[in-house]
Structures are given as C-alpha cells and as structure tokens.
Amino acid sequence: MTVRDVALQAIDQVTSLCEQEGRVQLTEWEAYKVLRHWQIPVAPCYLAETPGRAAEAAMQLGGKVAVKIVSPDIGHKTEAGCVKLGISTPADAAGACAEVLANARLYRSGARIDGVLVQQMAPPGVEIIAGGVQDPSFGPVLMAGLGGIFTEVMKDVAFRLAPVNVTQAEEMLRGLKGAAMLKGVRGKPPVDMDALTQVLVNISRLLEAWPQLKELDLNPLIASDRGVMAVDALVTLQGRV
C-alpha cells in the first residue's frame, strides 16, 4: 500500500464509522488522525481516559497544555465548559481532566465520552484559519485566511478550487488584505511560508479526496517561523440526504 492508499483508508474508516453511528461530526481526535495521514501538522497531543493518564500526557508533552473533551455527542466543547487552556502542571492537567469529564456529563447526561485530549499549547504565532467545503457547483474548495479577529471582523479569507499547487497557495496568501502579518510585524520573525503553503496544498488534496465531506475547519492553525500546526479541527460530513 502506498502512503496515499493509507491516507485514503483513514478517510474511509472514519467516514464509515460516522455513517454507522448516524453522526455527521468527527471528534477532534478522529479529525487529527486523518489530518496526520495527509501531512497536515497538529499540535502534539494524547487521548487520556482518566485524570491519571492526563497527568502523564502533560508530563510527556512538557510546557503548557490544553485539555479538551473528546465525545461524539458534544460538538460545542467550549459552550459545554469542556475546554481548559494554559495548564502548567501534570497535577493541574489531572484536575482539568476531572473537571472537563464532569462538565461533559452535566452538559449531556449519557454522552459517549472517549476521553480528554491533552494537547501542547502551540508556540505564539499568527493565527490562520484554513479548511474548505464541498460546494455543489465547484466541488472541493480550499479556504485560507487570517484567523481570530481578522476572520470575525474583516472576513479576510480567500478561496481556491482544490487541489492547488504551491504557487497557487502562495498567491492565495499574498492576496490577503492582512498578508503583511505573515511577513512579521512589530519585530516578530516572518512566518515559515514554505511550511504554510505546503500545508494548504495538503489540505486541498485532502478535500479533493473526501467527497463525503461537508466542511473542514482548522481554526486556528498557528503559523510561526518554526512551522505550522493545527490546534483545533472541526470536520463535518454531509450525512445522508
């Protein structure tokens, strides 16, 4: 099996599982598994079932971590009080894990819970929003733009029909209103553009290979001089019509 075959299999497996379970949203953990196969970097993370495991994961990762619920029944994690950010110690990670698990059960009793995601907090960088949709007229469409407030207020995003090549991805980023952010402002080093454009190329290939997809949302993707990594992923499938 080629690398591509394995990557395609990852899509098939999670798509079939969602179909069987009658849901359209992937958990963050499921989404990350697919992303890794398509060479889309994700902030290092572990799935932990218990507070003890969460502490171990935090120790392994080192530095500050985030703790987030992983449940096929909870889409809006923040709303459910199931996201804790900037946790400094393994003990705090254990505490956050217990709290998030409890909040999840409060939010939705009987929710299936796979565990918590313990994820390294990304180094500071420029927040990028990237992803795409399957459009009825155009098929797979890639989106990329500046995340955070730029997305909320300025809608500073661009679209291209997937797949794109490196040149097209570069041109897409250069055309953003806030493109100067990527070159480094206020003394910050410029973003690793080679890494960022390659990630967009890889996202576009994933979109092309996943016709059952509805929307893919990597918000944010943190880009810095040391590379690019996703710290959240929302994947929605079309579901049966």
Partner: protein
C-alpha cells in the same frame, strides 16, 4: 481525466458542429412571418440586416415569400444546404419540428444545428415544459443535430453576418471580442453597451445559449479557445451548477487570450446551514472570486469597465510592464486619475533625464514635471501641439510602459485641434516600433464627442473617464504579468501525499 481517443474524436466532431453555429451554410427560419409582432419576423429582419450572404429560407405554410425571402411550407421542401434551423415557433410545436428535423437529417444530411428561441420549456419549471425540452434535445441529438437554447437570445457572428436574435441596435462591424452571456438580458445590455463608443468597436460574436439544454457555455468556451478570430472573451456568469467545468474551460482560453468576467450576486452571504466558520464564509461569490483569480480570469465589477477593458484588449498593444505615466492639462482631474490608478493597483513610472529635459523644453515654464514621478501637469495654458509633443516624449521613454493622457478643453485649447496634433504624431511613433498602449481620456460628454470621434475614426481608442482607463490598463498589466513564464514549482501537481 485524460482525454481518450474516443472523446478526442467526439470533441472534434462537436467543434465542427459548433462551427455551424457561427458559420452555417444555409439558414432556414421556422415561423418566419410578415407580422412585425412575431419573433419570426424580427429574426428574419435581423438576418437580412446583418447581410448574411448564404442561402436564407423562410418556413411558413401560408406565405409565398416573407420580407422578400422565398418561403416554403415545411422544412422538407426547403432546398439545401440548410445547416442551421432557427425555431421561431411556440414550444408546443416541438414534436412536429423534431420529426421534421429527423427527416431532414436522414434524407438531406445537411442540418447541423437548431437554434430554439422560444420560451415555455425547462425554464418554466413545469412538467410540460421540461418534457418538451427533453423531446427537443433527445430528438435532435438522435439525428446528430445540436440544439442551441431553447429560451435563448441566440447568436450574432459579425464576421459571417449571422444574426439569429431579435435584438436591436447592435453594432455590426466585426472585431476581435466575443461576448458569451449566461443571461439573455444582460447579454443584450452588453451588446448594446458595446456600441457606446463615439465610433463603435467591432464585435466578433455574441452568444446566449438560454436553457443550455444541449450546447452549454463550457463547450462554447472550448470552441473559443481554438477560434483564431476571437482575440478576447467577455463572459457573463451567474449561479451555474456546472461552474467548475465552465471556469476550467475559461482557464484554457485565458492561457492565451484575455477573458474578462462579469458576475452578479457579489453581495450574497454565506450559507445559513453552515456548521463552521469556513462553511459560513464560503458564499458562492467568494468562491467564484477565488476561482477567477486562480484561473487568470479578469473580473470587472461594472458593465462599463467590462466593455471598455475588452475593447482595450482588442484595440491596444499589451503593456510590457506596469509603469504608467499620466499627462494632464488639468490639476484636479490629474490627482483624481492618480487615485484611480492606486485603486486599480497600478503605479507611476519614472521619466529618464532626457525625457524630463524634453518635456521641460516643450511645455510652458510653469508646467509641473515629475511631481510625483511619471506625472505631468501641463497646465491649462498648454497648446495642442505642446500636448502632442509631450505625449510623444512620454511614450518614447523606455521606463514608461503606458501613457494616460487626460484632457479638458478650454477656449484656448480646442479638443479637435489637440486630436489632430495627436494624430499627426502617433503614426510616427508606431513606425519607430514604440507600440505602447495609449489611453486618451477626453473629458467630458458631448463637448469632446467630435474630438473622440476624430481620434477613433483614425484607429485611436479613446476613453470617457480616468476610472475606465485605469480599469482597462490594470487588466492589461495583470494579463501580461500572469503570462510570464511560470516558476519551477508551478508544474508540480502530482496530487499525491508525499
């Protein structure tokens, strides 16, 4: 998907059939009528007015001749060849027409294309209409005949003097630009706007395919990519379920020829059903806009910019770069023009020392030269001859790729005198192979109409506003830049994860 031998062959056959849309040997009009309120009357009238040189036949059981054209009771009795049949008859007569088409195709084997003008088909959304459309297309396709429409304005080909439309006021001179419009009415607006210049620019083809039940815009775009007489394409699109295929075909045209696009619905919002930020932002127009950029299609936001840009592509040489010079006899409009250039993403060039010296020697002492670089305020006291000499100096400067010349007439400086002086100098400039785009902007309205006409009659395209000149020039610069040799990695697109 790579084209197989089979699809290649059928593609060639399709191209030959489309050729008959624009260059038919023989045209018959079903429903041709002496009654001016009937579409069949107006279509025949247009065809005669266009001066179609081939064989024209009216089909009307009740008349011996229509508008002086011999009339026949049915398609079977029309002498050949008839490559195009225009259906100017109501939708309900479709079953009879299809039978006649099939008989003709079997017996005479000359019919290639049917242009079905009438409405009352699929666009109604009614079962009856959809069924008639299916009958029309299936019946004709079985006979090897292609269908344009139904519910279409149709085709104008000024080179071959074909006009299947009932439009009025469309200029009939042949030129290099083909207009392909998804909407009949937008197409009519464009076709009329096309003739708005003091001396209308020629038009190559006008195409509106209505319901696109058979021949669609993608197929026509493929044809235009290979049509040597089409130098540039103006495309009007709106929501289109086959948008990707259409724009991919447009990209193949844009590799060699400019494609300028107008699309309405810019203000639409993202889908309400979106689950994520990405989904909410992915409004149809945002995707179209991205695809236009990706495929090197030039988007115009206004109809007048769309038209003027296409005409500039047809009439002017491409600039070799984006270094612009602005010469004006009026200060305020000069600054206005600099704003237009900035909005359009253009910037000024810098005069060489010798150009600067020439301008200083030519122009009145109080002229402002090179403030900013590339900009000359010649002032209101400048004479027509001085203007022409200054324009020539700017055009000769190797550091300048295009010249915008802004002019407001006064009692001292007549627009016509200025035009005559320009004409005396411009042919000389061309002989010295300094073939750069030149944008004379004469302000404004009726006051400069005669001068613009004089220039245009002598082959110099003029512009009605700095906004239009800047929009056209920006499009030309972008087209040139996009077609520079691609970077190495542009060819790498394996589609594999590595």
């Amino acid at each position: 998907m790579a084209p197989t031998a089979n699809t290649m062959a059928s593609g060639q056959k399709a191209a030959a059939q489309l050729e008959s849309m624009f260059r038919p040997r023989g045209i018959a009009i079903a429903g041709a009528s002496s009654d001016p309120t009937k579409p069949g009357h107006q279509v025949l009238n247009n065809l005669l007015e266009a001066g179609y040189a081939g064989h024209i036949a009216a089909i009307n059981p009740k008349a011996g001749s229509v508008l002086g054209v011999p009339s026949y009771p049915d398609l079977d009795s029309v002498p050949g060849p008839v490559e195009m049949l225009i259906l100017a008859v109501p939708a309900k007569s479709t079953p009879d027409m299809v039978q006649a088409v099939q008989r003709r195709a079997t017996q005479r084997k000359d019919l290639k294309v049917v242009v079905a003008i009438a409405g009352g088909f699929g666009e109604t959304g009614l079962e009856e209409g959809k069924l008639l459309q299916e009958q029309l297309v299936d019946g004709c396709r079985k006979a090897g005949v292609r269908v344009v429409g139904p519910n279409c304005v149709g085709i104008i080909d000024n080179r071959h003097r074909v006009d299947t439309t009932f439009l009025t006021g469309v200029h009939r001179r042949a030129g290099g630009v083909t207009l392909l419009s998804q909407s009949g009415a937008m197409g009519a607006w464009m076709a009329l706007e096309w003739g708005a210049q003091p001396v209308p620019v020629g038009l190559n083809k006008f195409i509106n395919l209505g319901n696109m039940a058979d021949v669609d815009m993608t197929e026509v775009m493929e044809y235009l990519a290979k049509d040597p007489s089409t130098k540039a394409v103006g495309l009007y699109v709106e929501g289109n379920p086959r948008a990707r295929a259409l724009l991919e075909a447009a990209e193949r045209v844009a590799e060699r020829k400019p494609v300028v696009v107008l699309k309405v619905g810019r203000t639409d919002q993202g889908s309400d059903a979106a689950m994520s930020h990405t989904g909410a932002l992915a409004g149809a127009d945002a995707i179209y806009d991205g695809a236009f950029r990706q495929y090197g299609l030039i988007r115009a936001l206004r109809v007048d910019d769309f038209i003027v840009t296409l005409q500039a592509f047809d009439k002017l040489p491409l600039p070799l770069g984006g270094r612009v010079s602005v010469l004006t006899n009026a200060g305020g409009p000069g600054v206005y023009t600099l704003d237009c250039l900035t909005d359009a993403g253009l910037s000024l060039g810098k005069f060489s020392h010798s150009t600067h010296a020439m301008l200083a020697a030519t122009l009145p002492a109080f002229a402002s030269i090179g403030h900013p670089d590339g900009h000359v305020d010649m002032t209101g006291g400048v004479s027509p001859r001085q203007i022409a000499q200054a324009v020539a100096s700017a055009l000769r400067d190797p550091g300048i790729d295009a010249v915008i010349h802004l002019f407001i007439p006064t009692r001292f400086t007549s627009a016509e005198e200025m035009a005559k002086e320009l004409l005396a100098l411009l042919p000389g400039l061309k002989r010295h192979s300094l073939d750069k785009p030149f944008f004379p902007v004469l302000l404004a309205g009726h006051g400069v109409e005669a001068a613009r006409r004089l220039l245009e009659e002598n082959g110099v395209l003029t512009f009605g506003s700095p906004d239009q000149a800047a929009a056209a020039l920006a499009a030309m610069v972008r087209f040139g830049v996009d077609r520079q040799p691609p970077a190495m990695d542009a060819a790498v697109d394996g589609g594999n994860v590595r």
